[in-house]
């Protein structure tokens, strides 16, 4: 294939993934979250814009598009402005290695990198750079505390997440996400590795700063945390980054532990979407079930529970593979 063809394919894929994430994850995700939250709290949720409030987020986006962009006088303007691009980009870079399904022509994936899992671990942790930039650049006390909390929280939970990823890579003998999905032909890794699955899910909730690990933007203490000073579309881009990251984490959990796009009867892409939204539902469910942690409890949980358990699980799995599978 000629290079112009390759270039065109890459651009096409990028635009497709961006618009898909913006519509299906950010816009529909926000609506879903508000609807399910309403349902769990015995209220209706958005109801007035469009049938059953279906167009609510579109109306919100149009509203945000018309708002003024305010940069506080004391802020570091360069860092303040560029943080807005780092967060959604870091979240969206995760989608490069996620196989959405399979067709006659091969797996439906932007690029099947041979170090896919490691790549995911790297890009998903890039978000913290953006959050720290936003917190520092705003020159606002709430934003700074939010940014710092986020940094310590996200780096702490990255280690148990890495251990869970390595356990799966060990079983599959590969870091390519496509090969890991292929290796789950008989059993989902959630069945073989329930502990790693739980560790991954917990770390994923912490990495995307959601309740019960939402100290980063604890509304009752920090206003809106690291994006307190952002207005209009910049605020919307942070939302895009946040929901994009949440869906990326869920998609990775589906790929690594729930057999990816595998399933009977229905087409593969549909299976992937069903599993993805089931996990998103779990995230929202957790949000309305648990109260927020304190920061010492949060860090203790990562360092004194998840990391030792993750290490023990890794050694046990390695031992199991050595004894049983040789």
């Amino acid at each position: 294939m000629s290079w112009s063809h390759e270039l065109w394919r890459a651009i096409e894929g990028t635009v497709l993934i961006f618009s898909g994430v913006a519509v299906l994850a950010a816009m529909f995700g926000v609506l879903l979250e508000r609807k399910i939250s309403g349902w769990m709290q015995s209220r209706l949720g958005p109801k007035h814009v469009g049938p059953q409030g279906l167009l609510q987020t579109i109306a919100d986006t149009i509203k945000l598009l018309q708002k003024e962009n305010i940069v506080p006088r004391n802020a570091d303007a360069t860092i303040f402005a560029s943080a807005v691009l780092v967060v959604p980009l870091a979240a969206l870079l995760d989608y490069v290695v996620i196989p959405f399904g399979t067709t006659r022509f091969g797996p439906l994936i932007f690029r099947d990198l041979n170090i896919g899992v490691l790549y995911f671990a790297a890009t998903s942790s890039l978000v913290v750079v953006g959050i720290l930039m936003a917190g520092w650049g705003s020159n606002n006390k709430y934003a700074l505390v939010g940014g710092l909390r986020s940094a310590s929280q996200m780096v702490s939970y990255e280690i148990p997440m890495g251990l869970a990823l390595i356990t799966v890579a060990l079983l599959a003998g590969s870091l390519s996400t496509v090969k890991i999905v292929a290796a789950q032909a008989r059993w989902w890794y959630a069945v073989e590795q329930p502990l790693a699955f739980l560790i991954f899910l917990t770390a994923a909730v912490a990495e995307v700063n959601r309740v019960p690990f939402d100290l980063v933007e604890a509304e009752s203490e920090l206003v809106a945390g690291y994006f307190s000073e952002y207005t209009g579309m910049r605020f919307a881009l942070f939302q895009l980054g946040e929901y994009g990251e949440m869906f990326a984490m869920a998609a990775m959990a589906v790929t690594l532990f729930l057999g990816g796009w595998r399933g009977p009867v229905l087409p593969p892409v549909l299976w992937f979407v069903i599993k993805l939204y089931a996990l998103i539902f779990v995230f929202i469910w957790v949000r309305w079930t648990y109260p927020r942690f304190r920061i010492d409890q949060l860090l203790n949980f990562a360092w004194k529970v998840l990391i030792p358990v993750g290490l023990a699980n890794l050694v046990a799995t390695a031992f199991f593979v050595m004894v049983v599978r040789r």
Partner: protein
């Protein structure tokens, strides 16, 4: 291999442009009005006292230092996991030693109180 990373690079470049697009749109259509109070730092409605760029809790540094140690060591586990099946029992015992040292580091940090939030 190189082509793979070419794809990723294009994703990053085109992605940045796409993310910047709504910012360009609001630059075109958003209203602008100037009055000094608007550009104040938000502090619950009262004038902000001092800068936010001041001293903050040293604990944050400690956790990032411990993180750097652990994360660098965990990077070594990725290639190990891939070749584990082929390498056989040697890989298991070698990594056991490596993980023992890693665990020792965790115990050390724990006992030293680096993981306590005071």
């Amino acid at each position: 291999m190189l082509l793979d990373w070419g794809y990723v690079a294009i994703f990053a470049i085109v992605g940045t442009l796409l993310a910047a697009m709504p910012l360009f749109v609001i630059w075109l259509i958003s209203p602008r009005s100037d009055y000094p109070q608007k550009f104040e730092t938000y502090e619950s409605g009262v004038p902000a006292i001092g800068q936010a760029w001041a001293q903050f809790n040293v604990r944050y540094y400690l956790f990032s230092l411990v993180f750097v140690v652990f994360d660098v060591e965990i990077i070594y586990l990725y290639p190990w996991a891939v070749v584990y099946r082929k390498a056989g029992a040697v890989a298991f015992y070698d990594m056991l030693v490596f993980l023992a040292i890693l665990t020792l580091g965790l115990v050390y940090a724990w006992r030293k109180g680096a993981l306590e939030w005071v």
